[in-house]
């Protein structure tokens, strides 16, 4: 067997809390699916899991990574450094070796990778992965299956539950031809039976997870948003493809007909938002979505929805901007666009999901708010959340599922769609109005009946109506929850997908003896009412976000929070390198910001 492993006796077993496995290869190597299998296995074992991946922007392959962190306790980020690096090629090794922990395992394809002799910090395990896979699958020249061979190796190293893995293969490949499932098992078995014991100095074994809770579901953020929308009663939508939003529209297109609804692929984003507004005007809760460039195109029509007080859910899966920017990297630079993007004073609601589980609950909440407040509601997600996989407790669907209804009840005579004393309730076409005066829904300023009005006083009143209902929404928020120290040295504030790395930072710093709290803001417009009081309880408030510090030295949320609270203790930690925050970056940045204060 061709493997240049240095023999040494079998070893002990090390009980681990969590482990980070980074798989580095090219996009066609199927490393995403190894990651996916591991994530699902973790989910089925009541373990926590988080993944992180990069895919090349080009379609024809190119370097790609998938990182899985799985463990028995709470997994908050995909991990700064890897315990195991799997390198398929020389470039995979060279580009990622710095991410491997001292003492970690470098598992490499010995036919393609030559690690540096002098590198003694890691345990080097060379296996001719591609060649052995070809051998296992009966000499076909194709390397397809080497991902499963590698999974076999990992299963051995980590003492993974092989029966559960086989169950997952069966779910994944069972529907296809028998050959495919058989080959998958063959490749896996040959990896699993490889005598890797000869070189390892230890096995890893996960601490037994607590399996008493509800069953876990495993999915990526875009799937969680899609399921949140379905659970929240969305049955209609329209969009135009753009990475990383497209998979939401693809799933909705496939799913909605089962629910009696439909999703329209529009000719562009101008049409997509207009079609969605048409659905909403016709009485159907609808969604549209995109990434930054497409959201720019939707802005005029979104202004109409605010003016006409039509409910709508808008998803923005953010990526690096401006313009085509960094289309496959993460950034949180569309916050102000979401809040202020349309022309005129145009109040609307903006929510930000903080992890995959929260993608589900945020989408659900957006549906509820859109309906109750008759307003467009943005859900901000991002590239990192879109594609990473997490496991979370299965939601209580019985309690949460909303079956949509079409409200065509007769309206009484003198019906005022824009009653100044009441929340607007749109009367869709098909509704009979007693007395027979039918409403017009317009983007022109209007009076209480919806009739256009150029009266300056009416404009002021209607402007307040549209603004005050958003303020009323803020009044309904529960008190903000702070993790960790409720007062003292430093409060770290974030929004969106920075939740995990910030939380992990705060946990570590508190164990280092610092008095630190963490507040992640899910409602970014309107903001919660209690922020001003909360901020006063800390010496420093550091806002961490993945966008530029701007002309005045503050990121987008930091700018808003300073304007809202006039609190000079608010500082800003930003970055735009297209990668998620590492724990050490936040530790260092917060440290620097608070020293400056």
């Amino acid at each position: 067997m061709s493997s240049d492993v240095s023999p040494s006796p079998p070893r002990s077993e090390e009980l681990v809390h969590d482990a980070v496995i980074r798989l580095a290869g090219n996009s066609q190597d199927g490393i995403q699916s190894i990651g996916g299998f591991l994530a699902r296995l973790a989910g089925r074992s009541a373990q926590e899991v988080m993944t992180y991946m990069t895919i090349p922007a080009t379609i024809s392959g190119g370097p790609s990574i998938f990182q899985v962190r799985m463990g028995s306790g709470e997994v908050l980020s995909a991990g700064d450094e890897a315990d195991v690096l799997v390198a398929f090629y020389q470039h995979s090794y060279e580009n990622h070796i710095d991410q491997l922990k001292d003492g970690g395992i470098l598992l490499y394809d010995s036919d393609h990778v030559e690690p540096k002799e002098e590198d003694k910090k890691y345990l080097k395990v060379g296996v001719s992965i591609a060649a052995l896979t070809v051998e296992a699958l009966g000499g076909s020249a194709r390397e397809k299956g080497k991902n499963l061979f590698t999974l076999g190796l990992l299963a051995r190293i980590f003492r993974l539950d092989v029966e559960k893995l086989r169950g997952i293969f069966k779910d994944r490949f069972g529907g296809k031809s028998e050959d495919i499932l058989r080959n998958a098992n063959l490749a896996f078995d040959s990896g699993y039976s490889f005598p890797i014991d000869n070189v390892l100095d230890r096995y890893y074994s996960f601490q037994a997870p607590d399996e008493s809770g509800p069953p876990q579901v495993t999915m990526d953020g875009n799937t969680a948003i899609t399921l949140g929308l379905l659970t929240g009663g969305v049955r209609y939508g329209s969009g135009y493809p753009i990475t990383p939003w497209s998979t939401i529209m693809e799933m909705l297109r496939a799913q909605l007909p089962k629910y009696g609804g439909l999703f329209v692929q529009a000719e562009d984003e101008l049409a997509a938002v207009s079609i969605a507004i048409g659905f909403a005007y016709s009485g159907r809760l609808a969604i549209t979505g995109s990434s930054g460039p497409g959201i720019s195109l939707k802005q005029e029509a979104l202004g109409w929805a605010t003016m006409a007080e039509i409910p709508l859910v808008v998803i923005n899966v953010q990526r690096g901007g401006p313009s085509t920017g960094l289309p496959t990297n993460v950034e949180q630079s569309d916050l102000l666009q979401a809040i202020y993007g349309s022309h005129g004073d145009c109040p609307r609601v903006v929510l930000a999901a903080q992890n995959v589980k929260d993608c589900f609950y945020t989408a659900l909440e957006a549906c509820k708010i859109a309906r109750e407040y008759s307003v467009p509601v943005f859900v901000l997600s991002d590239m990192a959340l879109a594609s990473r996989i997490e496991a979370f407790d299965e939601p209580d669907l019985e309690a949460l599922t909303v079956e949509p209804t079409l409200d065509l009840e007769d309206r009484p005579e003198g019906y005022k769609p824009y009653d100044l004393k009441r929340m607007t309730r749109h009367a869709p076409p098909g509704t009979w109005i007693e007395g027979g005066k039918f409403p017009q829904v317009t983007g022109l300023e209007h009076d209480e009946t919806g009739h256009p009005s150029g009266n300056p006083e009416m404009h002021v009143k209607m402007m307040s109506k549209r603004r005050d209902k958003i303020k009323k929404l803020a009044d309904s928020f529960p008190p903000s929850k702070i993790f960790g120290d409720q007062e003292g040295e430093t409060l770290v504030v974030g929004w969106g997908s920075t939740w995990g790395p910030i939380r992990e930072t705060v946990i570590r710093e508190r164990s280092n003896g610092k008095a630190m709290g963490h507040l992640q803001i899910r409602h970014v417009n309107p903001l919660p009412n209690d922020l001003e009081a909360i901020f006063k309880r800390y010496e420093n408030v550091v806002v961490v976000e993945m966008n530029d510090e701007g002309l005045y030295g503050y990121g987008q949320l930091a700018t808003l929070l300073r304007a809202q609270t006039c609190n000079p203790a608010i500082r800003s930690l930003t970055k735009t390198d297209g990668l998620t925050f590492k724990i050490r970056e936040i530790m260092k940045g917060v440290q620097e910001q608070t020293e400056q204060a």
Partner: protein, 301 residues
């Protein structure tokens, strides 16, 4: 905008001349659009759809003010996007009668791409383009249908760009009913509207409607009383299902012919989506929303 007209009670069930009119139109006296509105009222009186099921939609422009003057559910959307807006309404609610009105700028310029796709998708609705060869609301700029040489505020030396050929554009959009009429010919207009409305699919009618304020006399060549000729298509000779002969008609010299250029029954997107829904429902054995969600989550375990 004039004050809302005094409330007049109307009864459910019958469309009357009084009951279908809303605000008095704000158009300039003599504007061709008045006649378009009058013909629409008469057609609705004849067809007698349940009034609450009629919906009148528009973009922005003088002509796009139309919904305010019709007492039905109405939507005054943004410039150029009335067709996608109406697409959502039509696909969201198959029980409605969806009408879209707008100008040449709204339809052929800013909304030109939407026309191609609403046509191609064969959305069930009726669209009337009130073509006046000029931008009326914004006060006399060149429109996509302004002829070369037309002096506008944006072309003080005369328009130099070749105008859109409306019929060719509509035919190539994939619309399954394409008609052409003239606002001075009430009976012809009504006949066109009625045929368009009865067509199951994307039906569009171009109606030459003079802007007396900014392009007076634009259509005199098609007005017999002003020495022009209003020539109607002879459907004995022209096969309306023949695209090549429809395109040949579109190439005729100004002012060309009026009537139905093209009409063919093709499946609507409304029907096709409904068929998809039914297929999916059969496959999932009509499971409830909750059951469907549970099954989806079960696959994520």
């Amino acid at each position: 905008m004039s004050a809302p007209s005094a409330p007049k009670k109307i009864e459910r069930g019958t469309i009357t001349k009084k009951g279908i009119a809303a605000d008095h139109p704000t158009w300039c006296p003599g504007c061709g659009d008045f006649a378009v509105l009058a013909a629409f009222f008469k057609t609705l009186e004849k067809l007698q759809f349940p009034q609450e099921k009629i919906v009148t939609l528009a973009g922005i422009g003088c002509s796009s003010r139309f919904p305010y003057f019709v007492n039905t559910h109405g939507g005054h959307f943004i410039h150029g996007r009335s067709l996608p807006f109406a697409t959502g309404v039509s696909l969201g609610r198959d029980d409605l009668h969806v009408f879209v009105f707008g100008g040449d700028g709204d339809g052929f310029s800013i909304g030109g791409n939407h026309l191609d796709h609403a046509g191609r998708k064969n959305i069930r609705l009726t669209y009337v383009i009130m073509d006046n060869f000029v931008y009326g609301l914004t006060k006399m700029q060149t429109s996509p249908t302004s002829p070369q040489g037309f002096k506008s505020k944006t072309d003080p030396m005369g328009a130099i760009d070749r105008p859109t050929n409306p019929m060719r554009k509509l035919l190539s959009s994939g619309a399954t009913f394409v008609g052409r009429t003239h606002a001075t010919q009430i009976k012809h207009m009504m006949a066109m509207y009625e045929r368009a409305i009865n067509h199951d699919g994307f039906s569009v009618v171009e109606c030459l409607s003079e802007c007396v304020e900014f392009y007076k006399g634009a259509f005199d060549a098609a007005i017999p009383r002003k020495g022009g000729a209003f020539e109607v298509i002879d459907e004995e000779e022209h096969d309306v299902t023949n695209m090549a002969s429809a395109l040949a008609l579109a190439e005729e010299e100004w002012p060309g012919k009026f009537g139905v250029y093209y009409q063919k029954k093709e499946p609507t997107k409304n029907e096709l989506e409904q068929a998809n829904i039914e297929k999916a429902r059969i496959k999932s054995k009509g499971a409830s929303d909750l059951d469907l969600l549970k099954a989806t989550f079960a696959a994520m375990k």
